[in-house]
Amino acid sequence: MLRLLLRRLLLLVPTILVVVTLVFIMVRVAPGDPAIAILGDYATKDSLEALREKMGFNVPLWLQYLRFLSNIFRGDLGVSMLNNNPVKAQLLYALPYTLELTISSMIVGVLLGLPFGILTALRRNRWADYVGRIVSLAGISIPSFYLGILMIFVFSVKLGLFPVMGISRSGDLLGRLNHLVLPAFTMGLILTSYIMRVSRSTMLNVLKEDYIRTAKAKGLNNVIVVYKHALLNALIPIISVTSIYFIVIIGASVMVEIVFSRPGLGKLMVLAMKQRDYVMLQSIMLVYAALAMMINLATDLIYGLVDPRIKYK
């Protein structure tokens, strides 16, 4: 297990290097002058040149790349080209909110998706299954920003149960939770649909297995057959898909962050892309790559916990 951890942590370095190199090239190849994007239409030739010099764009690309790598290895993520604030500070501010949103969405998605997926598998081709499949299809189809607006309209405006926007003051835990409910359920309900569908299909496959028939034939309680024998064997693919969605929703959280006016990495990334803030964009991609690798590692470790047959060399 320890060797696996070390090996995977070592792999993190070249993987991130490849990712940030690709991002470095892609942002510079994309059309649009960052100096014009930042200074706007009052910019004179002199002020544009002054900014380009300050940002280091008047040196060759290979030199820009080497400076960039050298800064990364020293842990210096630089300053935002837009507002001159240290990128690290901005990321450290936004990241917890993104993680808070994605983790709570995952919790909602798993707590609702897994049981409903099992239910629809057990009630195959009955009304519960039909309803479940229609609801999950709707959940996959509905865009997150639209669902978010609907949630605000119903639960905030009409029922007055939750606030529309923001994150509450720091230190106010209950207020923070209050502001988190609607955004978490917005993303969580969509995740529920995905998890429900994958749970249903894997459960159906497992329920056809011989050992399940044997367990039933032995007279075991239905609850034990489903939760001890079927579910545990169905969990591996469910965990795989869930971890993939976890990585996806970290990036996809931007629409929910915008609708609910929450800070987060997604919003930072979209603004950086729109304004050609290369420094911020590179650093955000670096964070995403690191998160994706760590989630994959955690998933692999969870496999070992869930299925004792899996041994790590």
Binding site: G32, D41, Y42, L161, P163, V270
Partner: protein, 540 residues
Amino acid sequence: MKAVNKCHLKSNIIISLILAVMVGFSCFYLPQVAWSSEKILKIAFDQADIMSLDPGFSKGTMDMALQDMLYNGLLRFKPGDITVVEPDLAERYELSPDGMEFTFYLRKGIMTHPFEGNPGGVEFTAEDVVWSLEKSADPKRSNYAGNFKNFEASTIDKYTVKVRLMQRVPNPERLLVDYRGGFLVSKKAYETIGQEKFKTNPVGTGPFRFVEYLPGQKVVLTAHEKYFRGRPRLDGVEAWCMPEVNSREFALRKNELQVIEGVREESWVEKLSKMANTVVDVFGAGEILHFHINMTKKPFDDVLVRQALLYGTDRDEIRTFIGPRATETICGQVPPFLPGGLNCDEAAKAGLLYDKDLAKAKELLSKAGYPKGFNFEIFITERASYLRAAEILQAQWKRIGVNMKLNLVDHPTYHTNIRKDLNPIIIYEAMRTDPDQWFHQMFHSPSIVVTGKSPMINFSHTTFIDDLIKSARQEADKQKQIQIWKQAQIKLLENAASYPLYLLKLVFARNDGVVWGYDLKTTIALYPQINELTNIDLKK
């Protein structure tokens, strides 16, 4: 049986407890009326984040709105009316007989906001004025250096400043107002905080001072107790970054926000006007949408082709589409509410309204050698106000056989491309406070994109009004100056170098408990100004 009953009872109790906790939780957090005794006005803008609160750099409505609340200029536009310039930090000023030298007499005892090492702020003096104007003229410290390099400032005494113009420009006082580079900053505060940090830790003299900035979320300001016009009636302002219009609307409805930036369309104005406890403010100055024709690219180098496009354009139809409440007809390159602006009667008298006339447009195209029209392509930005205008023009010009293909790009790419002179037709939205700025930046030959001596936004490559621009600058008689400007606009229309489509006004909605404190007609700050007189009625 007994064991099963016990088991059922246990699970029923557990389920009931869970439900009770959930109900209790939600009841505890039922909406609470914000009966705080503090008067905090919350306003939301259609912007994802601020760029800079340094007055040398501003971009976007929110930056400019916040700077308006944080800083002052030597002079200011009268709140709600940009046709009137009045003293601000200066209590009075004099202009020399030759019109080349100002003497400003500062108010005494103007205190800046508190900052590091100076919890009471510092007094703003003549030295700060001189330093600020030098900063505004420095391209490394200001985006507006082009406007300010013409000024040479010096102190006479602690409260008196002389500002000399190196070259005559019309209405120089309109450059020294509380707008963009005209906002003044304390030298000590700026040097203590540092240029880089100042962008998100500003210190000014305005009615509100900076408290905190939460990236991607909001900027919090509080009342400046020592403001020279008197302590503001509001205790503070929260300016929120909210690019999603539905969220802004819902928050206004729930009174989580009191003012929101709106959508500049009739349908939105109508919708919000019907909302309970809501007032919609539609006001100027807004921005003028022009299209400029690049006269160096074929077939647009032929005046007949250019005039054909103008006759093929139906401004009334465009205004009807966007909405008459959010727009105003504009017939000259400079809006009529500025001195020297050409109004529609004057354009009509000169026969240059170019009212829609498809037959005439086709006739001109035929004379130019394009009886069946022609095709061309342009880059256009995804930004709604530009894209909408482009799509309407595309549909209108199709009627005369001119097919314009739109290549959609994002906004930064659009600006890069038009400054590289890649478009034959350039749709552009802008507002300037003074006619000379319009002409110099958009129609003066040094400002021609790419090839000009100091390229700015002369997309049409206009060179034929250089003499008029120069004459207007040198003319001391205001009335004659105005006539020269009008003449310049006539010439631009005769040559069909550019065509104004409409003035797009600003649209904001507010809770009817918000009182601006002045009569809101026009503002240059891109939002309904919040100043020391603005107030809210908490009960609404």
